[in-house]
């Protein structure tokens, strides 16, 4: 049995000291060791996007990142973003547009949408579709999700005027 590795990181603003097996990926660590069940595991090989979390300010595939690689880093999950209010407008737009049914993809979808509205505030509808092509949704058919993200892009542009 390989040794456990010490892991010091910040999760949703809270410093944590833990130890993990090297093979543990970031989302198993978040779900099982930290108890944050908002990040989901779908395919576990980087295709579906349900595991999307923020590491050091950028979205990553949580299933394709080892927990030990987050050592010294800062992780944000849907729980942290929900609590801080950083994506309240996205969450409200998802509700208003019925952009979720079963909800399994929603946390990953919101993480991806957050980076889009923050880094590409003038994204077109086509660019939104391209961006979220890395997140699978098997319920909605995507239109409602694209509608919701476009609503928020518009709202934030108006607010910035």
């Amino acid at each position: 049995m390989p040794d456990l590795f010490p892991l010091n990181l910040t999760v949703n603003g809270q410093a944590r000291r833990c130890s993990v097996e090297p093979r543990t990926h970031l989302v198993d660590f978040l779900r099982d060791d930290v108890g944050l069940k908002g990040s989901h595991l779908g395919c576990e090989h980087g295709v579906c996007g349900a595991c999307t979390v923020e590491l050091n300010g950028q979205i990553v595939r949580g299933c394709l990142t080892l927990a030990v690689q987050a050592d010294g880093g800062e992780v944000n999950t849907i729980e942290g973003l929900s609590q801080s209010g950083a994506i309240r407008d996205l969450q409200q737009a998802f509700v208003a547009r019925n952009a979720l049914q079963c909800g399994f993809c929603t946390s990953g979808m919101l993480m991806a949408a957050k980076e889009l509205v923050e880094t590409q505030p003038h994204a077109t509808r086509a660019e939104v579709r391209d961006w979220i092509s890395g997140n699978y949704c098997r319920c909605t058919g995507y239109h409602a999700i694209v509608d919701a993200i476009c609503d928020v892009l518009r709202q934030r542009q108006e607010a910035a005027r």
Binding site: P2, P22, R23, H25, G49, Q58, I59, R61, L66, A112
Partner: protein, 284 residues
């Protein structure tokens, strides 16, 4: 699925990586962005005894101009390349290609060096390296050596990299004022691997194109240069008659491998479509 257990070392120097590769051989795997390796670990297609994490090595980072070449460190992520003003100015083909690589969350982690080392014949960076006449810089027990991109890809997921070597950087000759480059690909969905893709470069002299390089993705066991078609185009203006001859030459020369959904004939046809489209955009 979950990865099998392995030991883990976060390397502190390139020498340490080379030493570990020497001692553990094929039982060790190098972890950079992990966007391929982690998937194969999770699916247990790969069960190394040791994973050597190189992401802490500052010497492998960064994008810089060194004389006549743009040197891109092995650990530069796809997103860093996509957003780099230096790349946009000196290797615009890479700026154009980057958004086609998978999806943002993957581009934030996946690396330039990792993509070249993995040598997927359908991937963007290996084809761009060929199209731009780039060089791979590797380091091993005997020190550093440079391998021309044209000599680097030797077979399906196989490269000229020796077992104890790692890629430290890739070098791209900087774009010249008379240079032209472009890329075009066909995929079922944005971010998917291309069914067929084409990265190309040339020099312009008046209306004519010189030193044409055509690197195709997704048609062979390696990224593949259509050298006979390049010769047909060389010194010619890419007008309709020339492009018709070039497309005919390409469909003669190319011998595409099928994938799960596309036959060789489909790919042969699509390769011609891409050539026609891309070279038409090179007209002055």
């Amino acid at each position: 699925m979950k990865a099998a257990a392995f030991d883990y070392v976060k390397a502190g120097s390139i020498e340490q990586v080379i030493d570990l590769l020497g001692r553990h051989g094929d039982d060790a795997r190098v972890l950079a962005g992990g966007q391929t390796l982690m998937a194969t670990l999770n699916m247990r297609l790969s069960e190394p005894a040791l994973v050597i994490d190189i992401t802490g090595l500052a010497a492998l980072r960064g994008i810089e101009l060194r004389g006549e070449v743009l040197r891109i460190g092995a650990l530069a992520t796809h997103t860093q390349i996509e957003q780099s003003p230096l790349v946009a100015r000196h290797a615009p083909l890479l700026t154009e290609a980057a958004p086609h690589i998978a999806h943002r969350a993957i581009r934030n982690s996946g690396t330039w060096g990792g993509s070249i080392a993995y040598a997927d014949p359908a991937a963007e960076w290996p084809a761009c390296l060929l199209a731009l006449g780039g060089t791979v810089v590797v380091q091993g027990p005997a020190g550093e050596r440079r391998i021309a991109g044209d000599d680097f890809f030797t077979g399906l997921y196989a490269t000229a990299l020796r077992p104890e070597e790692i890629i430290v950087a890739g070098e791209i000759p900087v774009a010249t004022p008379d240079g032209w480059s472009g890329m075009s690909q066909l995929a079922r969905r944005h971010g998917d691997y291309a069914i067929v893709g084409l990265a190309a470069s040339a020099r312009r002299q008046g209306r004519a194109l010189l030193s044409v390089r055509l690197a195709f993705m997704g048609v062979a066991t390696t990224p593949w240069r259509a050298r006979q078609t390049e010769a047909v185009l060389d010194g010619q203006a890419p007008d309709e008659a020339t492009l018709a001859r070039a497309v005919a030459a390409l469909r003669e020369e190319i011998d595409p491998l099928p994938d799960l959904t596309n036959t060789p004939d489909t790919k042969r046809h699509l390769a011609g479509v891409l050539l026609q489209r891309l070279l038409a955009s090179a007209r002055t």
